[in-house]
Amino acid sequence: MKSQTDLLKQLEQELLYLQAKTYRAHSPGELEGLLDALGAPYAPEKIAVEDRPFLRDLNWVRSRTGPGVNHRDNHWEAVRSIALGLTGVDYALADTGTLILFAGTSKGRWVSLAPRIHVALLPLGRILPSMDEFFPLLATPDILASSGSAVTFITGASRTADIELNLVMGAHGPKELHVITLLFPTGG
C-alpha cells in the first residue's frame, strides 16, 4: 500500500499535468504566507471563502476577506465581482488528480465555480488512491449525510476545446486552480 506521501506525489503529478499549481504548507504560518501571496492582488471584497469551521479560524480569512456571500439572498452583484474563491477539500483522488467537494460541508457550491481563481486547501489525510476507495466511504451513513445535495469531482480548472481544438482555460468556471496540501493537523 502507498503511503500518504506517495499518494501526495502522485496527486501533485496529475495536477501538474492538468495545469493546476500545487503547494505544500508544513505549518499554519506557511499556509498564511501562501495565502498572502496568492491573495495579494485582490481587495478583501474580491475574495470569497467557503463557510467551513477550519477556514473561519484562519487569521488570513479573518483579516483579509470581505463579508461572506450567500447567493440565495440575491447577491449576484457580489458573486460577479469575486475574483478568488477559497475552499476546503473533502477528499482527493491521487490517480486522477481529482478534488472532491461536498455541498453539505462547503455550504456554497459557487465558491469553487464562479471566481476566476480557485484556491483549494487539502488536508494530507484526505488523499485516497482512487474512486474505488472513495465510493465505499461515501456509502457510509455519516459521510453520506455530510455530503449534502451534491458531491462535485473537480479535476483541473475549467476548460474547453470547442474552437478548432484549441485548449482554452476558464471556459465558464475558474481559469486557475491552486491546490495547497496541508501537512499539519487541521482538526477536522
Binding site: 462535485t152 475549467s158 474552437i163 481544438l165
Partner: protein, 453 residues
C-alpha cells in the same frame, strides 16, 4: 431539429466534396483517437473493463423496469420529482407547464443529446421562452442555427474565423482573433444568463437506482452553473441511462472520459442528490427528473437489437469511422451520427425513413473495437440491413436477391450461370463494361484440373 435522414445520399455526395470539413474532422477525430489510445494504456484494468461495462448494461437492460422503479423510489425519497415521459412531446409539455406555472422567462441548458433528440429548444422557443445552450460548442451551433456535427464536439466543423464572424453578427461584439477572446465572449454573455434564468435544464450521463443520484460529466463548468444557480433544475434522461449504484458508476466513470476525449477524468463530475438542503448556501430548490422513453422500450423488446441501448454517447465510434470522417455529422440528418447514429437513428425514426444509414458502413469493425461497452455495431448494422431489405425492397430487387440466394446453394448452377455470362460477354461485348475480361478457366475448373490427388 428537422429530420433529414431521407436525404443521406444527396448530402453525402455534397459532403465528400467538402475538403475543409473533412480536414477539420480529420484533425479532431485523430486527436480524440490518439488521446483515447494513450489514456487506455494507463488504465490498470485495461480493456477488460469494457467487458465488465458490457455485462453491467446487459444486466440492467434485462431488468430495466425494476431498476427504473428503484430509481424513482430513491430519487423521490431525496425530494426529486420524477416524471416518466412516453415521448418527446410529453417531456416537452411537462417542462412547458413548469415554465408557465413558475412564470419563467429564461432557461439555461447544458449539453444533452436527449434534448436534441426531442427538439426541446424549438418547442420552448415557440412558446416564447428564451433558451440558451451554455456548452461553448452548443452555444456556437445554436447561434448558427445548425445541428451538432459530433457528439462530443458539436462545433468541430466550424473554423475560428466563422465563429468570430458569427459572434460579431449575433452578439454585436468585435471580430475577435483568438480562441481565448471568443471563449471569454461566451463566458461573459452566458454568465448573465445563469443569473437571470429561473430554470436550468441538463441531461444526465447516469442515474443510480440505489441512491437516486444523478451524475453529470463535463469540462467547462456550464453544467454546474445550470444545476446550481437557477431555482429549478430539470434533468432529462433516457431510461437506458440508469445503473445500479456507485460500484457500477466507478466502472463507467473510468471508461467514459477516456473514450470520449482521452482524459482520465472529465474536469467536473457532479453527483446530484436532490434539491439543496436548508443549511447549504446555494443549489436549486426543486429538482425534476424526466425519464424519457421515446422509442427505447421498443428497442428493449427486441432481443437482437437491444445492445443498441448500451451506448454511453462517448463518440469514440465516430472518431474511428472511415465513413463518418468523409461525410461528417450533418449528413446523417438527425441528432446522432457516425456508427452509433447509423445504428440507433433507424430504430428511433423507422427503418425505412433512415434506410440509407445502416448502409453507410464499410463493416470494418473499428467502432466495435473502441466501444466502451462493446456494442457489436457492425453485426447489428447487418441485422438492420437485413430487416430493411425484408420490409422495403422493391419487387425486382427482392427477386434478384432470391434468385442469387437459390443459385448459391447449388454449385453446378453457379458454374452454369457464369459460363452463360461469359458466353454473352463474348457475343455482345458492347453490352459489358470496357476492359472486362474473363480468365480462360473458372476457379472451379482450374481446381478440378490442378488439385493434387
Amino acid at each position: 431539429m428537422k429530420i433529414e435522414t431521407e436525404h443521406f445520399k444527396q448530402k453525402a455526395d455534397q459532403a465528400v466534396q467538402d475538403a475543409a470539413m473533412q480536414g477539420a474532422l480529420a484533425r479532431a477525430t485523430q486527436r480524440f483517437s490518439l488521446s483515447r489510445a494513450r489514456v487506455f494504456q494507463d488504465l490498470p484494468e485495461g480493456e477488460d473493463l469494457r467487458t465488465e461495462a458490457h455485462g453491467i448494461k446487459a444486466e440492467v437492460m434485462d431488468h430495466l423496469e425494476v431498476y427504473l422503479e428503484q430509481l424513482k423510489t430513491s430519487a423521490e425519497a431525496l425530494g426529486v420529482k420524477v416524471f416518466r415521459a412516453q415521448d418527446g412531446q410529453a417531456a416537452s409539455r411537462y417542462i412547458q407547464d413548469l415554465i408557465r406555472v413558475k412564470q419563467i422567462k429564461t432557461v439555461v441548458k447544458s449539453k444533452s443529446m436527449t434534448t436534441e433528440e426531442i427538439d426541446l429548444n424549438q418547442d420552448l422557443g415557440r412558446a416564447g421562452t428564451e433558451v440558451w445552450e451554455t456548452d461553448l460548442g452548443e452555444f456556437i451551433i445554436q447561434l448558427a442555427e445548425e445541428p451538432p456535427s459530433h457528439i462530443i464536439g458539436p462545433a468541430i466543423h466550424k473554423s475560428q474565423e466563422e465563429i468570430a464572424r458569427l459572434f460579431a453578427d449575433r452578439l454585436g461584439v468585435p471580430v475577435y482573433e483568438t480562441p481565448e477572446e471568443l471563449t471569454m465572449v461566451a463566458r461573459e454573455f452566458l454568465r448573465e444568463k445563469y443569473f437571470q434564468a429561473g430554470l436550468g435544464i441538463s441531461g444526465a450521463n447516469f442515474a443510480l437506482a440505489q441512491t437516486g443520484t444523478l451524475v453529470i460529466l463535463e469540462n467547462e463548468g456550464n453544467a454546474r452553473f445550470c444545476t446550481t444557480f437557477p431555482r429549478i433544475h430539470v434533468a432529462v434522461m433516457g431510461i437506458e441511462k440508469v445503473i445500479p449504484g456507485s460500484e457500477e458508476l466507478a466502472v463507467f466513470l473510468k471508461l467514459l472520459a477516456r473514450s470520449a476525449t482521452g482524459q482520465k477524468s472529465s474536469t467536473y463530475v457532479s453527483l446530484i442528490r436532490g434539491p439543496s438542503r436548508s443549511a447549504e448556501g446555494d443549489g436549486p430548490e426543486e429538482v425534476h427528473l424526466i425519464l424519457l422513453d421515446n422509442g427505447r422500450s421498443r428497442i428493449l423488446r427486441d432481443p437482437i437489437l437491444r445492445p443498441s441501448l448500451y451506448c454511453l454517447r462517448c463518440g469514440a465510434c465516430l472518431n474511428v469511422c472511415p465513413v463518418y470522417q468523409k461525410v461528417g455529422g450533418h449528413t446523417y440528418g438527425w441528432a446522432y451520427s457516425g456508427p452509433i447514429g447509423a445504428l440507433i437513428v433507424p430504430q428511433y425514426l423507422g427503418l425505412l425513413r433512415a434506410r440509407d444509414l445502416p448502409m453507410a458502413s464499410t463493416l470494418c469493425g473499428a467502432c466495435a473495437q473502441v466501444c466502451p461497452v462493446r456494442i457489436p455495431i457492425p453485426d447489428l448494422l447487418l441485422e438492420l440491413r437485413r430487416r430493411i431489405q425484408e420490409q422495403g425492397a422493391a419487387w425486382g430487387e427482392k427477386s434478384i436477391i432470391r434468385f442469387w440466394a437459390a443459385l448459391q446453394k447449388h454449385p453446378r448452377w453457379v458454374q452454369t450461370f457464369f459460363w452463360f455470362i461469359k458466353k454473352m460477354a463474348g457475343l455482345f461485348p458492347k453490352r459489358f463494361p470496357p476492359g472486362l475480361t474473363f480468365p480462360e478457366k473458372s476457379f472451379h475448373q482450374w481446381w478440378q484440373d490442378e488439385k493434387p490427388d
